[in-house]
Every structure is written in C-alpha cells, then in structure tokens.
Symmetry: C2
DNA sequence: TTCTAATATGCAATCGATTGCGCACAAAAT
DNA sequence: ATTTTGTGCGCAATCGATTGCATATTAGAA
C-alpha cells in the first residue's frame, strides 16, 4: 500500500507545467488561471497529494505551530485554556502542540528546547511549580519568538501575560464568608514563590482587615495544595484550641481534602465550618455539599493569550511592549458556604 | 535582541571547515576527530546555535514527532495514557503532539489532516464518540504511517490497538456486586457503536447469567454517560415498580450522577443501592462514599501503544501485521459497594 | 500598426541539515 | 617498498515548497 508521496513536482509533470505554477494554483494565487487551478486540484486529488508543511515551514521560516506548555493537561482549568487558545489559533491557520511539564523544572526546560527545535512560531506557557529560574523562557524571548504566559507568570520575564485577578477573587471569597457570619476564617496557601498564591493570600488578609477581623497567623497553612495536603491542613486546624469556623482554600483540591476530613468527623458544612475553594474544577460540582469556589475564566484566558500571540506575530518589527491582561474571576456560591 | 539564527554553515565558516563536518561533529560521528568536535561544540555554544528540526525532518523524511489524538485531555484516563506514551517515546528521541478532537468527528478529521501535513511519524489515537466513518484513519494507514488505536478502536481499521478487557472488567464488577448480595443489578451503558460499551454490557449480562440472575431489560439504560445522564438514568430506575439494589455504570461520570440522586433522596449507599463505576477517575476517590470502580491501566496502555509504535517504525519494510494488546483491568473495591 | 499593459507561467535560488561517495594522508601489514 | 587499512574531512545533491524576477502571449490603447 505504501505509495510514494506525491509532491507538487509530480503534479506539475502530469500537467506539463512547473512546480511554481502548481504551488501558486494550490494557494489560489490571482495570477493563475482558473482553468489551471481546476486542473491542478484535480490531479492533486488523483495523486493523493498531501501538502508537506515541513518543506513550507523550512522555506518560510514559519511552522504555523504554537507550542503550549502546561503543568498538566488533566486539570480542567488547563485543558479549558488550551481549548480557548485553539479556538482562536485555528481561525488563523495555526495548530497547537500541547506539552506537559508535569510541574517539573527539568521537563519544562527540555520541553522549551524541543519546541524551539521544532521551530514553533510562538510559545504559550504556564510555568511549573518547580521552576525558579527563567533562563529557558528568556531564551525564547531573546530569540524573538513570541512568548505569552498565562495564570502563572513572572515579573522578571517581562513578557505579555494573562492572569486573573487573584487578589480580587480571594477578597470576594473571604468577604462572602464574612457576610455568612464567619469570624475565624482559615486559609490554605501554596508555595509563596508563585504569585497567584501570594495574591490570594493578600486578598484574604485585606478582606479580613477591611472587615475588622484580626489576622491570626495560626490559621494560615501552607502546603502543596493537593487533596492530601488539604486533609493534613484541616487536621492541623482542628487540633487548634480555637479551630476556625471557615476555610478559604487557594485550591479546590485541598478544599476537597478538608471536606473529607470534616465529613469523617461529622462536622457540619457549612454550619460548623464553611468551605470555599478556588478554581471551579468540575468535581466541586459533584461533591456533597457542592463546593463554593472561584471560576478562573479559563476559556477567556485561552482566547486572550491566543489573541495576544496573533497581535505579536502581526507586529513583527514594531518595538515589543509586554501587555498584561487581568481577567475578573467569578465567585460561585454553592452549598458549602451558604449559611443563610 | 533579534539575533539572526545561526546555522551549521555559520559554525563551519568560523572554523574553516564545511557544514558536513559540523553536522557530523554535532551528531558525534565516529569519523570526526575529537578535536574538531570540541571546537564545533564551542562555537555552536558561542553562536547560540539552535538545531533546526524542520530542516532535518525535511531531509530525513522523519519529523521525530508522534501525533496523539484524544477526545479530551482533561480526563485523567487520557492524560495518563499520554503520559505513558511520552515516557517511552522520549527515550527514543520522539516528541509528542497532543491534539483534542473534543469527541467531534469533523474536528477529528481536521486533526488527522493537520498531523499528516505536519508529517508526524506516527499517530496514536482514540477516536471520537461522533465518529462512524474511518476513512480519515484509513488514509493514515494507507500512507504507510504507523497508526495505533487505544481504548476505543474499530475492527474495520485493521491496525494495532491496545485496549483493556472491558468484558472481564465488567464481569468482575458484576460478580462482585452479586457476592455482596445484590440481586437486581442495573446497568448504565453508552452508545452501542463504541465497542467498549458493548463489551461492558456483555460482561454484565454474562455475569448475571453465570450466577443464575435473570436479565431484565428495564434495568439497562443507555445514555451519553455524563454526570447529568447518570442523574436522569437513576431517576428512571427509581421510578420502576421494582427498583434495583445495585447499579453498575460503564462510566464513573454517570455513576457519580446516580450517587448524587441517591444522596438527595436519602437512599443509603451501598445498603439500599450499591454502586460501581468504570474508569477510576480521581473524583471517585473524593466522593462520599468513595466509589468502587475499575482501573483501566492507563499508564500501561500508553506505554504499550508507544512500544508498538516503535516496533512498527523499526520494522519499516517487513509486512505489517496488526497487533492487538489486551490489558487486564483491575477492580477497585471501595465503600460504595461494600455491604459486608 | 506599433506600443503599453495585463495575464499566465517559467526559472532558479533558497530555507538548513544530511549523507553517499571520494580524496588525501598516515599508519600498519606484507 | 608496496599494498592495505583507517582516519578525517570536503563535494554536491537532496528533501518539497516558495517567490522575486524574468518571459511569453494576448488584449487593449494610441
């Protein structure tokens, strides 16, 4: 079955024309007669012609591929961002190449290298938790390849980014808890290095302050924010002499862990302890009670990054000015925090 | 900052040698002296040389990229398979290009086309729910490009595939329910077109038969197997004059829907109705009670597909014999079905 | 009728890396 | 002193599509 692959030269030969004409005909060039175009299309079909983007990419210096680096694709947030990117990218004839860093620095570096080798036209990324050094991303930028960060970004990179207003999201969540009558609100936070956690923490703290609730350091627990971490953190809180009456977790995963612990101990949610997560992961909707959380506008985030990419690609020679887009998060109130 | 990209020719010029030598030096060719190799590496470093895989791909006719098509990346099953593929592929210097069909036929066709244009060296796929026509996949096969299907495959394609023994998984699940004392076991099934659902149904039915339980058609409900479908199906079952005392769902998602309904109505799980899902999605572990389910060996599945790919690539000229690998699923018993 | 302007297509270089073949020189074998 | 074997590297073609710059043909203008 292995037919030799047909090229534009094969098509040209059949029609006694040159490859130039075939190339132009296939691209619907205005200076090629309709007659020739039709003939070319017909022969292309017959020969089972398959355009070779590799050859075109080499010649043009553009691969029409956008590389995407996400920590992991199996988080609905990230896959939703990817979908948002694809929506826009596809309309501009771009394809995407999704890569996972698995939140691992080395893998991230290797991935960036692979994407550069593959000569992608741009990279859209959210960096790994383990990343502290941004040289690999700087390299991308210095090669003049558009780089756009989303969700997790770093100031030192000085590239365009799309994030949500983590501060505002956290602030609203905590304000909501206060409105529900909560007075001792705990907070689960992640690695300080990642700005989203710092911002969420800031929102938490300022909301407390603005409502006259004293900040209690013992109520803030840092961890890796996975389910198990949430369990552990909750246990710590319960062992306090004065346990909290609410938990605002900077991640849905650790909020779920906390919920498990509370249910195991027959502590009522939200009456005894109210819970709010962050991320609007699908499982927050499955849980019992359903978890109040904050939606991160993943689809819009994807759209926005892709649009910035297209802008940057379009403005090749103009001086580059990093652009920071901040999306408004949305508090989604569900049973886990509704006391009234 | 936009430096011109350095090529092997630039390196060659600096050293007064030819590009051939540089190319060989970079690939550690034995016929190049260590001295030259060192010099080349040094200059490459200095010029910030970045290999151009596009050029190499064009010349070699191999892109060293494997295209992966999954319905959606945000299902832990699929992302885990991808991870399994990457593990193996990376060791053989292959990179992967993950694409999502969003369970949409048109998008799947377009994706296959894009991957062919990108000249991937092989395609690993699990087809979309909406796919009934396999011409696009046949095209891949007929072009002599290795195509391996996983999880969802089709006999008519006659390509290698890796699946789990859905029949066995279902059989074991139902047998387990029977052992727990269940007598009226319902079943949620998906589109008949997809063989995994047919097989799971067959396992269900034969397990009943082998244990002397009569098959009752009214207990089998077909749907799209999402959370909402599970809710709806459960409601239907509850409205029967003789409701079931167990549900075996061919998907974790619809099992979760059923669980929600049962909890809302204060029907005890597993005492009144026992539940078993399929897939071992992470949320089955979060649920209350935790859901008994069947693990699909996603990582191994990925490993296996990648290994088959490498085999096929290695055996370029030998006659192609499709190879079917069947993995053994594992029943994971949790609270939702443990009556004893 | 001669000249200008479209119109349709060809020529040939180019993108960057790879590789079979060949050549020169040196070391080893006869 | 030849011949053989090996080492280190250059030459030039190749992969397939693209495109600036001709060229040939025809239609319209002067």
């Amino acid at each position: 079955m292995r037919r030799e692959r047909a090229t534009i030269h094969d098509i040209a030969k059949k029609l006694n024309i040159t490859a130039s004409t075939v190339s132009r005909a296939l691209k619907n060039h205005p200076r090629i007669s309709d007659e020739t175009k039709k003939a070319v299309l017909k022969v292309a079909e017959k020969l089972n012609y398959q355009p070779n983007h590799i050859a075109a990419a080499l010649r043009n210096g553009r691969s029409k591929i956008i590389g995407i680096i996400v920590p992991t694709a199996d988080r609905s947030f990230f896959s939703s961002v990817v979908r948002g990117i694809e929506e826009i990218a596809n309309t501009a004839q771009y394809n995407v190449m999704i890569c996972q860093s698995y939140d691992n620095y080395e893998k991230e570096v290797a991935t960036v290298e692979a994407l550069l080798n593959a000569r992608v036209d741009g990279i859209i990324a959210s960096y790994a938790k383990g990343t502290e050094d941004f040289d690999h991303f700087l390299k991308v930028k210095n090669k003049g390849i558009p780089l756009i960060m989303f969700d997790r970004s770093s100031e030192e990179l000085e590239v365009s980014s799309v994030i949500i207003d983590d501060y505002q999201g956290a602030y609203n969540a905590v304000k909501h808890l206060i409105n529900q009558g909560c007075k001792r609100i705990a907070h689960f936070t992640g690695i300080k290095k990642i700005s989203i956690y710092r911002e969420r923490f800031r929102g938490y703290r300022e909301a407390l302050q603005d409502h006259g609730i004293p900040y209690d350091e013992s109520l803030v627990i840092g961890s890796n924010m996975q389910l198990d971490d949430g369990r552990e953190s909750m246990l710590k809180l319960l062992s306090l002499s004065a346990p909290p009456d609410a938990v605002f977790s900077a991640s849905d995963y650790s909020a779920m862990g906390a919920m498990q612990v509370l249910k195991e101990r027959n502590i009522r949610i939200p009456q005894d302890i109210a819970l709010v997560g962050f991320g609007n992961e699908p499982f927050t909707w499955f849980s019992e009670p359903q978890l109040t959380t904050i939606d991160q506008r993943s689809k819009q985030m994807g759209n926005a990054t892709a649009e910035i990419f297209l802008e940057q690609i379009g403005a090749k020679n103009k001086p580059f000015v990093p652009k920071k887009t901040v999306l408004k998060p949305e508090l989604i109130v569900r049973k886990s925090s509704q006391r009234k």
